[in-house]
Every structure is written in C-alpha cells, then in structure tokens.
C-alpha cells in the first residue's frame, strides 16, 4: 500500500509540476508576444487617419448583425447607437429572435417600419423567417429588421447572414455598446490584407458596469463598484491584452468574442455559418472557418485589435456568473470535441499544433488539474501527510507569478489606452490583482468544473433556458437553389402583399 502511494505521489507530483511550469512558461511567452504585438500596433496606427475609410469608394461594404431576444427595454436606444456608427457603406440588420415581449412592436413604432416583399435565399439553415422590415423614413434607410421564430443566437446570426449581401459581416450582441469608430478600426485589418486572406477580426471587450451611459454611449468610465465585476475587469484586461493579443501575433487565435467580431461573409457562408448545436458558437465559428481555409490550402489570417471597441455588462452576482462560465466551458468542450481532428495535426499548421493544444491543455484541462490538485492536497492534509512549508512555497510560486502577470496587464493597459482616468481606479485595479487569486479564481475554477459536469449530463442551457430553445425540426435544406421548402417559406414571408 505504501509503495502504491509513493508511486501515485510521484506520478501526480511530477506531472502536475511539469504542467504548472509549462503553463507559466507559456504565459510568460504570451506576455512577451503580446508586448511585441501591442508595440507594433500602437506605432503602426499612431499615423492612421481612419476618416479616409469613410469617404473611400474602395472601402468594403459592411453589415452589422445584431440578434435580439426580449430586449424591449433597451432595443430602441441600442439600434440608435448602431445607426450612429461611423462608416459609410453599411447596414444594420437587427434579428428579432422570436421575442415574447413587445420588442418588435417598439422597433416598428420607433423606426416607422413596414414589411417588405423580401425573397429569402436560405443559404444557411435557420428557423422560419416571418418577415423583413424596412423603414418608410429615409433617415433609417440603413436599418433592416428581420422577424423570425426563436432559434437561439447562432440561428439568428445565420438568418442575418442570409439577408445580407455585403462583403463583410459584423456580429454583435444587441445589448453591448460599441465605440463610434469601432467599425473603422475593425475593418482596417481587412484593408491591409496582402498574400494572406483576412477571414476574421475581433476587438477588445470592456466592462461597462458602473460606467456612466447616456444616449447609448459611454460618457464616463469607472471601475465597477462591486467586487465581482471588478474582478472580471482584471480578468478581461489580462485575457484581452495579454492572451488574445499574443495569439493574434502568433496567428493562433481561436476565439473572437460573440460580443463583437467581423468576418468575411462569403467564407462564413461557405464554411456553413454559425453552428446551432453548440453554446459556444463564437469560438466554434472561428475554429471552423480556420479549418475550412486550412483544408482548402488557402493562406489566411485572423486578426485582433487591442483597441477597446465594445462595452458590455458582466454578471454582478454569483448565480449569473456561474451560468455564464458553465456555458463558456461547455462551449469550449463542444468545440474541442467537434474539431478533435485538429489535435496536434500538422496538416492544420499553427491551428493544429499551437492554438488547439493550448485551448485543450490550458483553457479546458488546467482548471480540472487544479481542482484535482486541491482534492489531492485535502486528502494529504486529512491523512497527515502534508508538508506545510513546501505547500506554502508552492502557493507563493503560483500566487506571485499570477499576480505579476495581472500587474503586467495593468501596465499594458496604462501605457496603451489608459481608459481609467482616475489614479484611484488604477490602484483599486492593482489591489484587485492581489486579492483576486484568493476569492475570484477559486470561484471561477469551481464554475468551470460545474460546466464540465453540466456537459457530461448533457445540459444545453443557452438554447433552452435563456433563448427558449431551438425546435430544429423545420430547418430548410442548405443550398443556394430555390428548392421547394424555400419557396414555401418565402410565400409565407411575402404572403401579405
């Protein structure tokens, strides 16, 4: 029995230690790549006059797709904000995903909408579209509203993709606030495209809790008052300024946040659009379009902008946060499982050899290993086999390294965009960096574990609880030809005229 414990101890210790060292070395490398990338970006764009894009006939056409479900309270203001974005040749496609409140009535009244005789080409599968609306008022000519049966966010985005004809599409959350120049900044990587086709671009999402908002714009930026959103500010700063920036530099970015992402429309459609059978449709799409390009042997890039382009409200109570994190974990698991073929597959280049393994080991596996570590520690403590000084030494190692990474990200924020004007806010953020490993990190780790358990027990929260589920039975056949189903649907859509 003693030998068994000895061998088990050896195996667990050494493998966990090796994993820890690899994780930290990776984070250190990512930090360096991120610093290089940020420096390059800032230097490059300090000379840019984005306004020249507005007047240019060469600039591509854009469609902003905003799925909305039961957002009656904010939808009218949010659409107004979207209509005031700086860009010339673009349209706003709001997809009402079968809201059960009075969202649709409010939009129709506010923007003087009427149903048009729209012919639907269901290139991507989506729930039945009840109608397409345009405004009688020429001031709102850029607005298109699609009313459809409830099918979830991915389904709504697919409906939007079916309606748009423009070169590029921007997917956003209808309840997030975009910076007025977000489209100009996001389109730039597509304009800089050379040998490698730019298939997607994402930007930094910032936290709007406690910020002063009026008329659909952020007026004053404050650090959140509550501890939970404040810890998330630290987490987002670290994830966006260190993680994603570095992955963009390495061309291994696997995730463009669903709150704001720009894609080449034709590539998205050819790759099959958003997947409706995952709760992490944003990550799944990026992985799929990358995979599609790799399989077609076409050189491509996925770009990332460190500018804060979009503001969103994050969960301020533990229950909502737990639901969100569980969904993220399930989304990650579903995407990793669906695209398991990529795992260390040299055929997919950096996607298979770098991006996918990183997500597998560090984003999905790391919290599980950490949790097992705690179980192991508890077991040893109970059985009296714990070596306290060494435990503390290791705790110090993990803690100080983690905090130093957070402080690096605060530094990056300070020397780049320094959105928090008050010195007090920066100090508070730094204190959060010191405290977060004790109260916030264990919490998110447990939520991660819960996500794993939820996935094992086949929970599909995103579709069923929050967006009233997908029926999935009446989806039309995929294709560009006018098949019978499509024609019937269009009869229904345009039947009123």
């Amino acid at each position: 029995m003693g030998t068994f414990w000895t061998i088990l101890g050896e195996v667990v210790n050494n493998s966990v230690f090796i994993l820890t060292v690899i994780i930290f070395s990776t984070y250190l490398s990512l930090m360096i790549f991120s610093a290089v990338s940020l420096r390059k970006y800032l230097r490059k764009n300090s000379y840019v006059d984005y306004n020249s894009i507005i007047t240019s006939p060469v600039a591509p056409t854009l469609s902003v797709i905003a799925p909305a479900y039961n957002e009656s309270a904010t939808i009218v203001d949010n659409i107004r904000t979207l209509l005031s974005l700086y860009y010339n040749n673009f349209e706003i496609v709001v997809v009402n995903d079968g809201s059960t409140d009075d969202s649709m009535e409010k939009i129709i009244d506010a923007y003087e909408l009427e149903k048009v005789n729209y012919y639907f080409d269901y290139r991507l599968p989506c729930e039945r579209i009840r109608g397409v609306y345009k405004s009688r008022n020429r001031s709102f000519k850029k607005l298109v509203v699609v009313d459809k049966r409830n099918g979830g966010k991915a389904d709504a985005l697919n409906a939007g993709l079916n309606v748009t004809k423009n070169d590029l599409v921007v997917s956003i959350d209808a309840d997030s606030i975009m910076e007025p120049d977000a489209l100009l900044k996001l389109v730039k990587p597509f304009l800089e495209e050379k040998e490698k086709k730019v298939i997607g671009a994402g930007g930094v999402i910032r936290i709007a809790n406690s910020c002063e908002i009026s008329g659909g714009h952020i007026r004053k930026i404050h650090l959140p008052e509550k501890w939970l959103p404040r810890a998330q500010v630290m987490e987002y700063t670290r994830a966006f300024l260190l993680g994603r920036m570095a992955w963009s530099e390495l061309d291994g970015l696997l995730l463009i946040s669903g709150a704001l992402g720009m894609f080449n429309r034709e590539i998205v459609i050819q790759a099959g659009g958003y997947s409706t059978n995952t709760v992490g449709e944003d990550m799944e799409l990026v992985v799929r379009i990358r995979r599609y390009m790799a399989e077609k042997k076409q050189p491509y890039r996925v770009e990332y902008i460190p500018d804060p382009l979009c503001w969103t409200e994050v969960p301020s109570d533990i229950r909502s946060l737990a639901r969100q994190r569980s969904r993220w974990t399930r989304g990650t698991m579903e995407t990793l499982f669906k695209h398991r073929k990529l795992f260390f597959n040299p055929k997919y280049g950096k996607l298979g050899l770098l991006g996918y393994p990183y997500w597998f080991f560090f984003e999905w596996l790391a919290p599980i290993v950490e949790f097992l570590g705690i179980v192991w520690f508890t077991m040893l403590a109970i059985t009296g086999r714990l070596n306290l000084p060494f435990f503390l030494l290791l705790l110090g190692f993990v803690y100080f390294f983690a905090v130093s990474l957070s402080i690096w990200s605060v530094l990056f924020e300070e020397i780049t965009f320094h959105k928090y004007e008050k010195r007090r806010d920066v100090i508070k953020l730094m204190i959060t960096a010191f405290l977060e490993p004790f109260f916030y990190h264990p919490l998110t780790m447990l939520m991660n574990i819960k996500g794993n358990i939820d996935k094992i027990f086949r929970k599909t929260t995103w579709g069923k609880q929050e967006r009233q589920g997908f029926s999935g039975n009446s989806k039309p056949k995929k294709g560009t030809k006018a098949n019978k189903e499509t024609l019937e649907k269009n009869e229904e859509t345009t039947g009123n005229s």
Binding site: E10, N13, T20, P57, E195, W376, L393, F401
Partner: protein, 441 residues
Amino acid sequence: MCRQASTICWVPIKVRMDLKTTFHIILFILLLSVFPQQFITAVPVMQEDTAAVSSDMIPSYEEPGEEQSAGNSYTGVFARIFDTFEKSPTLILILYIVIIYSIITLIVLTVFILLNRSRMQKEQGLRQELNEQYQQLLIDYLFDEEQRKEIFRQILRIASSNFRRQILINQIIELSVNMQGKVREDLRNLYLDVGLKKDSLRKAHSKKWHENVKGFRELAYMNIRSANDRIMECLNSHNQILRMEAQIALVRLSEDKPYTFLSYLEKPLAKWEQITIHELLTQHNLSVPDFSEWFDSENLSVVKFSLQMVSWFDQKEAIDGVIRLLKHGDEEVSIYAIRTCGKLGEKKALPHLQEMYDHASYNIRMELLKAFGRVPDENYLEFLNGVLDREDDVQLQIMATKAMENLDEPGISRLIKLMKKKSEYKNYQIIIRHVLDGRIY
C-alpha cells in the same frame, strides 16, 4: 512517509483566505526567501525525501558555517541566501527564483505604473500649455509683421528640447494644411529658420521605421526634397506602413507625374494604400493621371486599383483598355473590368459582356448581370429574360430581374407579364415582387 510528505509541494493550490492571512503568507514567503535554513531544518523529512527524486537535487543540510553565524549583518543574510540556493534541489530553486522574480516585478511595476501616471499627466499638461503658446505665437508671427523678429526669438527660446520642437513641428504642419499661398510659405520659412528641417531629416534617416514615417510626413508637408533618395529606397520596403508613407510622401513631393511609383511597385498594393492614394487625389487637388497607363502592369493589385480609379474618375476614354481586360487570365481582374464597364455606362462593352456569359464562372456571371443592370439597353431584354428562365440560382435570377427592371418600361412590363403568367417556375412571382419592391434596394 517522507516521500509523500513532499509530494504536495508540486500541486498548484489556492485556498480561501482573508487579507490578514494573505499578509501572513506573503510575510512567511519573504522570510522563507531570506532565512530558509531555519524553516527547512524544521522539516527534516526533506533530507530523505529528496534522495528519491534525483541525486542532483539532494540538499545536504550541513551545519551553519561561518557565514551563517555572521548574525544579522547584510553579509550574513546574503551568504545565507546563496548558501540556501546552493543546497536546494533544482526544482525548489526554480520555485525560489520565480517567487523572487515575481516579487521584484510586482514592486517595480507598481512603482512604474504609479510614476508613469504622474509623468503622463505632467506631459499632457506641458503639451497642452505648449500647444496654446505656439498657436498664439504662430498667429502673431503670421499677422504681426512688425513684431516678427521678437516672436521668432520667443519661439526659439521655447523650442529648447526635442519634445518641445516636435510639438512646434506638429503645430506648423497642422496650421499649414489649412493655409494657402503666402501664409503657407511664411510657415515653411519659419520651419526652415528655426532649423526644424534638421530634425525631420534626422528622423527620415533614422534606423527606426516609425521615426522614418514621422520624418517623411514632415518633409512632404513642408515640401522639402532633400531626402527623396531615402524615401525612394523605402518604396519597396517590407514594412507596409513605411512603404505606404514613402508612396504618399513621393506623391506630395513630385511636381509632375506623382504616380510614377505605381510603375515600379513590386509589392501588392493593399486596399488601405489604395484608400490613401485615392484620398490624396480627391482631397489635395492633385492632377489625376490617366490610369489606363497601368493596365499592363505585372502587379495585379495595381491593375485592379487602376480599373477602380478609371470608373471613379469616369475616364471613358479608357474603355477599349477595359474591354481588353475582360478576358484577363486572372478572374479578379476580369471581375474588376466588368464592374468598370458597368460603372462607365458604356454600351460599347455590352456585346463583349453578353459573349462572355455562357462560359463564365458563377462570380463572373453575377458581375456581368450587375453590369447589365448598370447599363440599361432594351436590346438585351431577351438575353436577360433568357437568363431568368435558364438559371437555377436565386441570386443570379434576382440580378437578371433587377437588370430587366432597370430597363424601365419595356423591362417592367415584361416582368409584370411574367408575374401573371402561370408558370411551373413558381419563384418568378416572389423574385419579381422582391425586385420591384423599391424599399429593399
């Protein structure tokens, strides 16, 4: 027992702790870093334990030597630290190093962040103050000729450092962009008299690309050609920004034929560069060249850009060249040529477009139908009707219908007739209703 006792040290663990406990832990780790021997000797199990891990990791916990007995002197402390490092197993050494590195980083970064805040605020204040001062002085310099010498001396006195001179350069450029004639010339003279040209030239010849960009911009705005050779060198630079800024500077600095660089361009011309060139042409009153000159360029991005510019500046005389490019080997060039034919509205191109249709790819067919929509000619009504009948693809059908609608009366009456007709192609009605709904397009 001993081996298991050490095993826990590799497990990354976080436990719930309050602030006070955190402080104690930090204090403990700091003490551990400085006086590890006391802690380690209190855990004698390590001696046996590490032997099983690896021979090179074995710490030999000897009795404290002379250095350790040096009491509280600094020498003693450092000696103790070095001694501990020497005797610790490799993996534990890594832990120590990471902890010490992290603590030092934390302290340095915290101080840096706070100081940087103050520095930025101070710099911003100074920048604002200088901007206000320079603005006033420049206006006085331009419009108060009697005081000009005195103002010049004042400017020289204020512009005493690189930072202050850079702000002056920015102010002069900002002002001269909005000025013409004598005022602009006076500003240029001031720039030369203060010796700011040297600053710009230094930047243009710097080894740092972002400095080069700054230098090129300043020289171009101030119309100084001394660094043209250096700018030419950067025309085919690997750095896209530098390349683009070199192009822009040359366009601004060339008196005749500012776009000759397009003929020598080896790298693809990105959309962003095209936007900038177009902006220069439209916003800065530069003479528009005959873009058909580059139709035979080996650089396909230059050909595509030229086609776009031909349609934008409505260079109808280039139509023969455009028709020639319809059958270009590169599909994208063909698409751009078809689009240009449509935008120029030249009926001369229509027979060529019709001829292409049957053997063309999907994308080209789509573009051809769009072009027919832009150049309405009722002679092609039957052709378009035929396309509507023949094509299965909805998007092609919509485009053909749209082109028919653009023919006005004859096209619309044909569409209405088709709508009324009972056809096995049920989608006629829906497609035509879609196209005829003026609110959609």
